[in-house]
C-alpha cells in the first residue's frame, strides 16, 4: 500500500518548547490518496504535529517528506506551493472579506494569480469559477456577499474547510474540522470532506470517533508525543496499547 517516496512521510520528528518536549520522535506515513485520521487524548501533540508538518513552527529534529521531497524547515507558503494545504482548529478566516473573497484567496495561488498588480482579479475566470464551485459544495452560495466574520459558527467552520480545499492541493490536513458542530452539521461536513477529498490525500485530526471510523482508511494514534499505533481501523480498534493509553471515555465506541 505504501508506495515509497510518495505521500507524506514523517520520520523521527521532535519538537521542544524550552525544556518541554511535546513531540517525541513521531513516525507517520500516509500513502498518496489515503484518508488518514490522527486521534489521541488531549495534549498528545496532535495540533503541534500539524503545525510542524505545515511549517508553522520549525521542528527541533527529524524529517518531513512530501512526495519524495524533503520539506523539513520550509516556510508555510513554500509547503503550500509543494501541494499541501491545511485548515485550523481555531477558525482562521479573513473576517472582513466576503465568503466569495475568502474562497478566492484560498484558490488564488494555484489558479495562477501571483502577487500581481497589473491584471485585474476578475480577469482570472477559472479562479472565480473555482471559488463559485467550492461555495456551492459548502452550501454557502446564498451567503456569498456576507463578511466571514458575520457568519454563524457552523458556516465559519464550513468555510474554514473550504478555504483549505479551494486551491485544489493534492494533500490536505484538516485540524478537527467538525469541532463544535451539531450532529446534522457533522454529517453534512463529513459528506463534504468525503466529496472534496476524492482522489486526494487527507490527514485529519478528529475527536469524533464516529467520524473517524466512517471516513478514515487508516488511523494513527498519538499519545504523549509519539505514535503508539498505526493501521486500518479494525486493527487499531483491537490494539492493546491503544486501549491502555487512550481509551477512557471512548472505550465503548472502539469495542
Amino acid at each position: 500500500m505504501n508506495d515509497p517516496g510518495s505521500g507524506l512521510i514523517v520520520t523521527g520528528l521532535r519538537k521542544s518548547f524550552g525544556a518541554l518536549e511535546i513531540i517525541k520522535g513521531v513516525e507517520l506515513s500516509v500513502a498518496k490518496g489515503e484518508r488518514h485520521a490522527v486521534i489521541g487524548p488531549n495534549g498528545a501533540g496532535k495540533s503541534t504535529l500539524f503545525h510542524l508538518i505545515t511549517g508553522r513552527f520549525p521542528a527541533s529534529d527529524g524529517r518531513i517528506e512530501l512526495d519524495g521531497t524533503d520539506i523539513t524547515g520550509w516556510s508555510a507558503h513554500q509547503i503550500f506551493r509543494a501541494g499541501l494545504a491545511r485548515s485550523f482548529q481555531v477558525t482562521s478566516l479573513f473576517p472582513k472579506l466576503s465568503v466569495f473573497e475568502n474562497l478566492r484567496c484560498g484558490a488564488m495561488r494555484n489558479f495562477g494569480a501571483g502577487v500581481s498588480v497589473f491584471r485585474l482579479l476578475d480577469g482570472f475566470r477559472p479562479l472565480a469559477e473555482q471559488a463559485e464551485r467550492t461555495m456551492e459544495a459548502l452550501g454557502l452560495t446564498h451567503r456569498r456577499h456576507v463578511a466571514a466574520g458575520s457568519l454563524a459558527y457552523a458556516e465559519q467552520r464550513a468555510l474554514e474547510i473550504g478555504v483549505a480545499i479551494a486551491g485544489g492541493a493534492h494533500t490536505i490536513l484538516l485540524d478537527e474540522p467538525t469541532a463544535g458542530m451539531s450532529r446534522t452539521e457533522t454529517e453534512r461536513a463529513v459528506a463534504l470532506i468525503r466529496k472534496v477529498t476524492e482522489g486526494r490525500t487527507l490527514v485529519m485530526i478528529e475527536h469524533d470517533l464516529g467520524v473517524v471510523f466512517d471516513l478514515a482508511d487508516r488511523i494513527s494514534v498519538l499519545a504523549d508525543g509519539k505514535v503508539i499505533a498505526s493501521g486500518p481501523p479494525d486493527q487499531v480498534r483491537g490494539d492493546a496499547a491503544v486501549r491502555t493509553a487512550y481509551l477512557g471515555a471512548a472505550a465503548e465506541v472502539l469495542t
Partner: protein, 405 residues
C-alpha cells in the same frame, strides 16, 4: 459603465471647480486639496487596505518632493525637464525611499511595523538635517516651477496652470490606486490585513505582500511630493518629518479608512479646516486634534462610515424621518463647540499675554483672557451643550437604528 461614472463625474468636477473658485485663495485651496487627496489615498493603501499603520509616511512624500525639487532646479540650469512631469520624478523618489525603508519595516506587521516606521521618521529627519547640501538644512531648498521648458505656451507659473497639473495627476493617481484594489495584490493586502498568518498557508509570503503594497504606496506618496514641490516651490525638513506624517494619519482616519473614497473626504475637510481656521486662530491644530479624538471615539468609521450607515436608511426612503432628530443635535453641538473653542482660545491667549503680547482680540471679539468671566461663560456654554447632547444624541441614535431596520 456604472463603475466608471464616479470617475467621469470627478473629471467634470475638476474642470468646473477652478471656475467656481477662481481667486488665488480658491485655487491655492484646491491645489492643496488635490495633493492631500493623493497623499491620503496612498496612506490608506497601507492602513485601510493593508493593515499597516505607517507613522513615517511623509518620508516617501518628502523624498519624492526633494528629488522633484532638484529636478526643478536642473530645469533652471537648462535641462529639458517639463514641469508637469515632475511628479514622475517624485514617484521615482518615493519609490526609492520605499524600497529602502520598506525593506526593513515590512518584515514585521501591526505594532512592530508601526514602531519601526516611527523610528524611521525620527531617523530620516536627522539625516535630512545632516546633509544641508542635499536637503538645504533648516531652510530647505527652493526652485522656480516656471524655469522648465514651456509646453504649448504654458510655463506653469500661474496658479491656474498649476491647478491643471495637480488635477490631472490627482485623477490619474486616484484611478490607479482604485484599480490596485481590484488586483490580486489588492485582495492579498486585505487578506494580510485581516489574518497574515493564514495568507502564509495559502501560498503567499505575507511579508512580501506587505512589501509590494508599501512600495506601491511609496510611489503614489512620491507623486504627491512632486505635486507639492510644484505647488509650494520649496521643500523643507518639515515636509518629511513626523508632523507631516501625523497630519496624513489624521485626515485619512477622519475621512474613514474602511472605504476607498473615505480619505478623499478627510483630505478635503482637513485642508479646508487648516485654511479656514488657520486664518482665524493659531490653535487650529488643536481643533483638528479634537475632531480626530472625537472621531476615534464616536465614529471610528470616519465620515465615510457615517455616510454608509445611512445608505440602508436612504434605500428604505426613510431619510426624512431623521432630519428632525439631526436638527435637534445642532444647538447642543454648537454650544459645546463654542465652549471648547472659547476655553482653548482663552488658554492660548493667556499664554501669549504672559509671553508679553497685548490683550488683543479673540475671534474678532474684544475679550480679556486675564479676567474670570470669559472663562466662566465658556465653561457654562460647554456644560450646557454637553448636557443637551447627552439628551438629544441617544434619541438621534435610536431614531437612526429604527430607520435602518
Amino acid at each position: 459603465m456604472k463603475r466608471w461614472a464616479p470617475w467621469i463625474a470627478a473629471a467634470f468636477a475638476a474642470l468646473l471647480l477652478p471656475h467656481l473658485f477662481a481667486s488665488g485663495f480658491g485655487l491655492s485651496l484646491l491645489n492643496r486639496m488635490g495633493i492631500a487627496i493623493v497623499f491620503a489615498l496612498s496612506f490608506n493603501m497601507l492602513l485601510g487596505q493593508g493593515g499597516m499603520l505607517d507613522f513615517g509616511h511623509a518620508i516617501m512624500l518628502g523624498f519624492g518632493g526633494f528629488l522633484a525639487m532638484h529636478a526643478m532646479r536642473l530645469a533652471g540650469l537648462g535641462w529639458f525637464i517639463p514641469t508637469p512631469l515632475l511628479p514622475l520624478v517624485g514617484a521615482a523618489g518615493g519609490l526609492a525611499s520605499a524600497l529602502l525603508t520598506g525593506w526593513i519595516a515590512t518584515r514585521r506587521d501591526r505594532t512592530a511595523f508601526a514602531m519601526i516606521t516611527l523610528g524611521l521618521a525620527e531617523l530620516v529627519v536627522a539625516v535630512v538635517l545632516m546633509f544641508p547640501s542635499v536637503f538645504g538644512g533648516e531652510e530647505g531648498i527652493n526652485g522656480d516651477r516656471s524655469d522648465g521648458p514651456a509646453i504649448l505656451g504654458f510655463d506653469f507659473g500661474s496658479q491656474m496652470q498649476v491647478y491643471h497639473v495637480v488635477a490631472v495627476w490627482t485623477w490619474i493617481s486616484a484611478l490607479l490606486m482604485w484599480r490596485t484594489t481590484l488586483t490580486p495584490l489588492g485582495r492579498l493586502a486585505n487578506a494580510v490585513r485581516d489574518n497574515p498568518e493564514r495568507v502564509g498557508f495559502l501560498g503567499y509570503d505575507p511579508a512580501r505582500v506587505r512589501f509590494r503594497v508599501y512600495v506601491l504606496s511609496g510611489l503614489f506618496a512620491g507623486i504627491a511630493g512632486g505635486l507639492q514641490a510644484i505647488n509650494d516651490e520649496i521643500m523643507t525638513s518639515g515636509n518629511i518629518g513626523s508632523e507631516a506624517s501625523g497630519a496624513v494619519l489624521l485626515m485619512t482616519f477622519i475621512g474613514g479608512i474602511g472605504t476607498f473614497w473615505g480619505p478623499i473626504l478627510g483630505a478635503v475637510l482637513i485642508v479646508l479646516l487648516q485654511v479656514a481656521l488657520g486664518t482665524l486662530t493659531d490653535a487650529w491644530q488643536l481643533y483638528s486634534g479634537l475632531l480626530f479624538v472625537a472621531m476615534v471615539v464616536w465614529a471610528p468609521g470616519g465620515l465615510a462610515g457615517i455616510l454608509l450607515a445611512h445608505a440602508p436608511v436612504m434605500r428604505a426612503g426613510r431619510l426624512g424621518q431623521l432630519v428632525g432628530h439631526y436638527l435637534r443635535l445642532i444647538p447642543g453641538f454648537a454650544l459645546a463647540l463654542a465652549g471648547v473653542a472659547g476655553l482653548s482660545e482663552l488658554a492660548f491667549r493667556l499664554e501669549a499675554i504672559r509671553g508679553g503680547a497685548s490683550t488683543g482680540r479673540i475671534m474678532g471679539l474684544a475679550i480679556d483672557a486675564t479676567a474670570a468671566w470669559p472663562w466662566l461663560v465658556a465653561a457654562v456654554l460647554f456644560l450646557a451643550g454637553a448636557a443637551l447632547l447627552n439628551r438629544t444624541f441617544p434619541q438621534a441614535r435610536a431614531a437612526w437604528q429604527a430607520a435602518a431596520q
